[in-house]
């Protein structure tokens, strides 16, 4: 199936004709001139990007182009890497996330993250989901916690599969289920933005289809940024796509335009499989 055919996406509840990319929606996050250095090596060379509310933005590009690095700037996960330095401005709802008054730990509760490899904690399924709410004090008492866990698992489409085995360890689930557990875990702290770093690269096609469907549903409530190596996946789940190459953002446009009518010849070369 060609990418063009796959662009015929399912209609979404809040989609109006011609407004799929959400041009009229406000920007949830904005990046201006973002540069990242690992020691002396420069990984990002000044990125400008707008992330629209309640839309899925896909970041594509060859390995080592800096898309994961950019993603990890958005919730300051790069802070945990020794020797990493970030320049430029990234704003969440207009507020600089690298500002002095901002608590990086608190920021990560608002900008959640799902990783490439499913990484459930060595705890029960229930405690995996309840971990975030517990440390942030989002649920007082047993009943509220049950409620949060149940809602999160339902939203992540995992509830029916695990509702009878909430006390079993999270690691006992299959790979695809583990990844949905990680999404449920991220949802449980009620983030505004969810960052996904190649969330399906360790999963089989069926589990991947599951997650993709889930991403499409989640954008009703969350803003999502997803890094992917799979261009079909970008075409299927995102409304806007940004193409990264060698630490630069080559172009960012509506997904349909990127895949049908790319302006830059590097983008053209990458999506038609000439390199990357």
């Amino acid at each position: 199936m060609s990418i063009q055919n796959q662009l015929k996406l399912r209609p979404h509840a809040d989609d109006r004709p011609g407004q799929r990319s959400g041009a009229d929606l406000p920007n949830k996050m904005t990046a201006r001139g973002v540069k990242v250095f690992y020691g002396a090596k420069q990984a990002l060379k000044g990125i400008d990007l707008d992330i629209r509310e309640n839309r899925v933005l896909a970041l594509i590009g060859p390995s080592g182009c800096g898309k994961s690095t950019f993603l990890r700037c958005l919730n300051r996960m790069n802070d945990t890497i020794e020797g990493c330095r970030v320049e430029g401005r990234i704003a969440l709802d207009g507020e600089d996330v690298y500002g002095k008054a901002v608590d990086a730990v608190q920021l990560r509760a608002r900008v959640g993250m799902v990783f490439q490899k499913p990484n459930p904690f060595p705890k029960s399924i229930y405690d995996n989901v309840g971990y975030g709410p517990r440390i942030h004090g989002l649920a007082s008492g047993r009943d509220e916690m049950d409620e949060v866990v149940q809602t999160s698992l339902k939203r992540a489409g995992l509830w029916t599969e695990v509702k009878d085995r909430l006390r079993e360890p999270g690691t006992s689930l299959s790979g695809g289920q583990q990844q949905r557990l990680c999404i449920a875990r991220a949802i449980a702290v009620s983030p505004e933005v969810i960052l996904m770093d190649e969330p399906c690269s360790a999963l089989d096609p069926i589990a991947t289809a599951h997650i993709e469907e889930l991403i499409d549903e989640l954008r009703a409530n969350y803003t999502i940024v997803i890094v992917t190596h799979n261009m079909q996946q970008a075409a299927r789940v995102s409304q806007r796509t940004a193409f990264f190459h060698l630490g630069e953002m080559v172009e960012c446009d509506d997904t349909e335009d990127i895949f049908t009518n790319p302006r830059d010849e590097r983008t053209q070369g990458y999506i038609t499989g000439r390199y990357g």
Binding site: T80, V105, F121
Partner: protein, 460 residues
């Protein structure tokens, strides 16, 4: 003398074998080495092994049996009257012959027959030495020529050498196991001898330890009482104190090293902590006796407590310090083995560093930490010197850490120090204690290894 000569001859023949084998292999194919099944060096090793190994094996077998054989020959020639029947006099006779043969006086007038036997024994040994030399050397030469004879383009010297290497490796590992087995068996038999004198129940459950036995019937005050409970209790008390020091400090040091310290700090901090493990325990011992004990005593007095000058507390604290590097180093490795992705997952949910460590990293590392603590416990139980020097030898049955207690290992050491007869219950009781100690640490180590193994299965 004969031995040195033999060793020299064998070494020489082996080297010659190597050189001969290598050059013959090369010449057998007219210098076109590629036509050989194995490269010439393997042919060299092959011939060298033929020259050296059979002779060596013969040497080992010969020396193992020679003394016994010579003694049997000498004894069989002696008249019946010298053996008064029981095993003890025969053993005494043998010892006399051996001593006389070596020219050591037995301290009493020897029977001329025994003197004669000793002379014969010495002569036999001398003869045996020379004949061993001759037989071994000719066997080595024979092996060399046999190996040389077999060399040809098709000789599979490489797999043959491989097989010998494999056997050698197996023998080495068996040697280690057999030695351990020997130690355990000797412990077991001596302990059994002890348990024929003192009932195991009295030993394991008696509450009075006073191992002095009456040497003469009229001696007073040395009844001999072997209730080991005070020793077990003392060991337990000191181990608990040591672990109370070592586990929290060691664990937190490990957490700091693996989670907080930068690479620069880590590179010097970890080796520095491991230096603690390299200090001889005797040095810890006088630190405990001369520094820690007075400190504990004066602190205790300041608090209005009655502290004896040798206290379990002082010994336990110093032992804890000694064990810190075990706990910290092993825990550090285990904590480092927790995948970074778990930490990322926790940070990504907005958890702080200490929340992540407490709720994600430590639970994931827990089995490994438990194993580290178990190994540290068996180390603490086996520690002797610190207690000997700092906590004394009084077998008190007490749970008060301010008093002197003694431990199993300390008692074993004191029971066997100096001139002792090895058939009194006093000395034999050391083996009983040793057996119990061995079983306890064995169990601890097995549990620890099992925990470590299940942990590995989880994260590989």
């Amino acid at each position: 003398m004969q031995l040195t000569l033999l060793a020299l001859i064998l070494a020489l023949l082996t080297v010659i074998g190597f050189l001969v084998g290598r050059s013959r292999a090369a010449s057998s194919v007219g210098g076109r080495v590629a036509e050989l099944h194995s490269v010439p060096a393997y042919h060299g090793v092959y011939v060298a092994l033929w020259a050296g190994l059979p002779a060596l094996l013969l040497f080992v077998a010969w020396t193992a049996s020679e003394g016994w054989l010579a003694m049997q020959m000498v004894l069989s020639a002696l008249p019946e009257r010298l053996f008064t029947g029981d095993g003890q006099s025969a053993a005494l006779l043998k010892a006399d012959i051996l001593n006389l043969a070596r020219g050591i006086s037995t301290g009493r007038e020897a029977d001329p027959l025994v003197m004669e036997a000793a002379r014969r024994y010495a002569a036999l040994r001398d003869l045996a030495g020379w004949s061993l030399l001759a037989v071994c050397a000719s066997l080595a030469v024979a092996g060399l020529s046999w190996g040389r004879h077999r060399i040809g383009p098709d000789l599979r010297a490489r797999p043959a050498v491989e097989r010998v290497v494999r056997v050698a490796l197996v023998v080495c590992s068996l040697l280690a196991i057999l030695t351990t087995l020997g130690i355990v068996l000797s412990l077991l038999f001596e302990a059994l001898r002890f348990f024929t004198v003192v009932s195991p129940l009295d030993f394991l459950f008696g509450t009075h330890w006073s191992p002095q036995m009456a040497m003469r019937a009229d001696q007073v005050g040395s009844s001999g009482s072997f209730g080991a409970i005070p020793l077990f209790a003392g060991t337990l008390l000191i181990t608990v104190i040591a672990m109370a020091v070592a586990v929290p400090v060691g664990l937190m040091a490990a957490i700091y090293m693996s989670e907080y310290a930068g690479r620069g700090v880590r590179t010097w901090l970890k080796p520095a902590l491991e230096i603690l493990a390299g200090i001889p325990t005797v040095v810890y011992g006088f630190f405990a006796a001369l520094t820690m004990a007075p400190v504990v005593r004066s602190v205790g007095e300041a608090l209005g407590l009655d502290v004896s000058s040798e206290s379990a507390l002082a010994a336990g604290i110093v032992m804890g310090v000694m064990i810190i590097p075990f706990v910290s180093s092993l825990s550090d490795d285990v904590i480092n083995a927790v995948p970074q992705s778990l930490r990322d997952g926790s940070y990504g949910l907005g958890a702080t560093k200490s929340e992540t460590i407490r709720q994600v990293v430590l639970p994931a590392a827990l089995p490994g930490i438990v194993a580290a603590v178990m190994l540290a416990v068996s180390r603490a139980i086996g520690e002797t010197m610190i207690v000997t020097m700092a906590s004394g030898l009084t077998a008190n049955l007490t749970a008060n850490p301010m008093q002197a207690v003694t431990t199993v290992t300390t008692q074993i050491a004191t029971l066997l120090v100096g001139d002792q007869e090895f058939d009194s219950p006093k000395t034999l009781s050391a083996f009983g204690l040793g057996l119990v100690l061995f079983l306890v640490t064995l169990c601890l180590n097995m549990v620890a290894l099992r925990v470590v193994r299940t942990y590995r299965e989880k994260y590989d």
